[in-house]
Subunit: 394 residues, 2 copies
């Protein structure tokens, strides 16, 4: 008799976005004349940029023509795309070789698959509040998850305390928007090397970094290549949330018990995938051209301008927040001791603005609230104006 | 100290196609005037058909336009594509609901991911010779793999003997091309229901089926919905090997220890993926239109014609083989007691035709050889002619 994976019972319901959706719709049903501004979800709104669209069309034509048709792609990724990503890394002074870069269907897929490199008995450290996938994927494997609390006292950037085998770091962070500087990340890298841990560094939001002191890649930090794997995505960088492509970097110096994790990951990809779509890889390649980079940064500037509307409103209202500067997320403390869901209801009812209660990202998120800056500039400006008028004291 | 997954040491080297590649290139370096015909690899050669190309272009345009741009797709798949697949199933009289169908990046990806539904201690039955991923993914999880031998005596279609929790069935089979009929599959389904097993049914080659007595889907068999998961792919069906898209069907009646595997898989997809590319799903949708189906079947007919060249040659030479009829593969017994690699060298040196030694698919594959019918008609006809002349007795 087959035994199912009983650990599914330990997963929490993914009710967060469903509840937001239901509450918003219930409000609209009762107040059909109101305009609700949805400022919660972390999905982009600006279409793919012209060089990417052009490359995608060209790749589609290739697939329709016998002379240019492509079958199975290399499981590790197309050589030209790996080269382009290597050169992108070089801009941050992160030395990464082509055969350390693996093209993926997106960060979400690889965050789960990468765990196949590790023994089931490894301990896992997750900084809270956190992206729920870090916890859920490890629960399904039966690993012990240690939570490291973060909060206002450390700017939601806690430093290492208890050793663990696998350490998740997301910087700039989802949901808080907080970003580790060079010096802080060096402490984490030294800690990981000392204890033989492996850091899973989620760099999905690196393109939002402005400050020189914030690394775009953990491989800018000395010693990272013996203790870190970096997981990257074009979802936010180039608007690929619905197009799908990412990459994962596993250094060749990353060795544990004599086993080379880069070689293991190559072998894993050979077994577990048949490569990423030719069409999507060609589209991704255009992101890394000078024209692609110019377009992509223009789009990011739109989201940054959106962030400035929120930041101005919160500054005026005297509300504590982080993020917005190196991140598309703004993480604020709910005013007047309100809980996340109380503040959600308050904003929906008073000014028809929807955000995300921090409760969805773990215990430490309670009493906080996330705004995303991925909406349209018009909606975001309007939402920030309403917010400012509502929360401004005196 | 992090402990790596030591089970990687138990994996066999994936030397098969590398060795074929190396031997072929060495021969060509010594004999530059010769034309080698590559009839081994299971990759398609006919470009994507016109309705698919048109749909892909349209979808790319959608992604470049603010009004039609799509961000995150539903993790389980686009509703319209799930509906089209349901209707495709209905043609085989397989009753499958839309929410039982999950769009995937391809069969290869889901064959690994699906194992997360099962406990680590479940036993696994793999019919040999087999697609290596069935074995490798389970070794990485630490599951015990039982091999069920097949051979000429049962037409490479063995019937159940020893119970196991997870049972892999690939029909039409890779590498042998053998396909179970309705009556035989019913025995497997009854066996699985009796023992509480779950059958993982790999239907990647269903489009090649000709006979009325061979089911396209295991869900044509009564009782399958309480014991089977079906894994499908457009790779061979519609030439998507380099474009990537598949689907996996998990019935709602599939329950073990009170846990519903359909609900578990929904939850798994929510956690483990952010959905499949909008562009690729639109391309896939075109495969299931009447125009798409017409084009796709025309292409399959080309491969079937290729099969007929090989079958005629082998019939003339009096060589034992199966496949070709309901499958793009032809599985033959190496003549004169040659081993797979001896026959490989013989064909390469004598007639410059390259195939795949059966050794790469497990112990039972020794002494057999696989040809693929995915090459161009010109090359395939020429290869079959050379083969016939070489092997014809008297």
């Amino acid at each position: 008799m087959l035994k199912p994976n009983l650990r599914y019972k330990e997963l929490k319901d993914t009710y967060l976005f469903n509840t937001i959706y239901r509450k918003t719709n219930e409000y609209l049903a009762k107040n059909p004349e109101k305009t609700v501004l949805r400022m919660g979800v972390g999905d982009v709104s600006i279409p793919l940029c012209e060089p990417v669209i052009k490359a995608l069309h060209k790749a589609v034509d290739d697939q329709g023509n016998k002379k240019t048709f492509h079958g199975y792609m290399p499981e590790v990724g197309d050589a030209s795309l790996r080269k382009a990503i290597k050169e992108y890394y070089a801009k941050f002074s992160a030395k990464v070789e082509e055969d350390e870069i693996f093209v993926s269907s997106g960060a979400c897929d690889d965050l789960g698959d990468i765990l196949e490199l590790f023994d089931k008995d490894n301990s896992v450290l997750v900084i809270e509040p956190a992206y729920p996938e870090y916890v859920d994927t490890n629960i399904l494997c039966g690993r012990k998850v240690i939570h490291l609390a973060s909060g206002e006292e450390n700017g939601f950037l806690p430093m290492p305390e208890t050793p663990a085998d696998i350490i998740y770091i997301c910087s700039p962070n989802n949901p808080t928007g907080a970003a580790y500087n060079r010096e802080q990340l060096k402490v984490w890298v030294d800690f990981a090397n000392k204890h033989g841990s492996v850091i899973l560094f989620d760099a999905a939001y690196e393109i939002f970094i402005e400050g020189e002191d914030i690394p775009h890649s953990i491989f800018e930090i000395e010693g990272a290549k013996t203790c870190a794997i970096e997981i990257c995505s074009l979802s936010k960088t180039a608007g690929f949330t619905g197009t799908r492509l990412g990459y994962t970097t596993v250094p060749k110096e990353l060795i544990r018990e004599g086993m080379n994790l880069n070689e293991m990951w190559s072998r894993n990809r050979e077994t577990r995938t048949n490569g990423i779509s030719y069409i999507l890889q060609k589209g991704a390649l255009a992101v890394f051209t000078p024209e692609g980079q110019e377009c992509v940064h223009k789009n990011i500037d739109v989201y940054k301008k959106n962030a400035s509307y929120f930041m101005e409103a919160l500054d005026t209202a005297g509300i504590w927040y982080i993020g917005g500067k190196n991140s598309p997320y703004i993480w604020l403390k709910c005013p007047d001791g309100m809980s996340g869901w109380e503040f959600f209801d308050y904003l929906l009812n008073k000014i028809q603005v929807v955000g995300v209660p921090g409760d969805g990202f773990g215990e430490c998120g309670k009493g906080y609230f996330r705004f995303s800056t991925f909406g349209s500039p018009e909606d975001t400006k309007e939402a920030a104006d309403r917010l400012c008028k509502l929360l401004k004291k005196g």
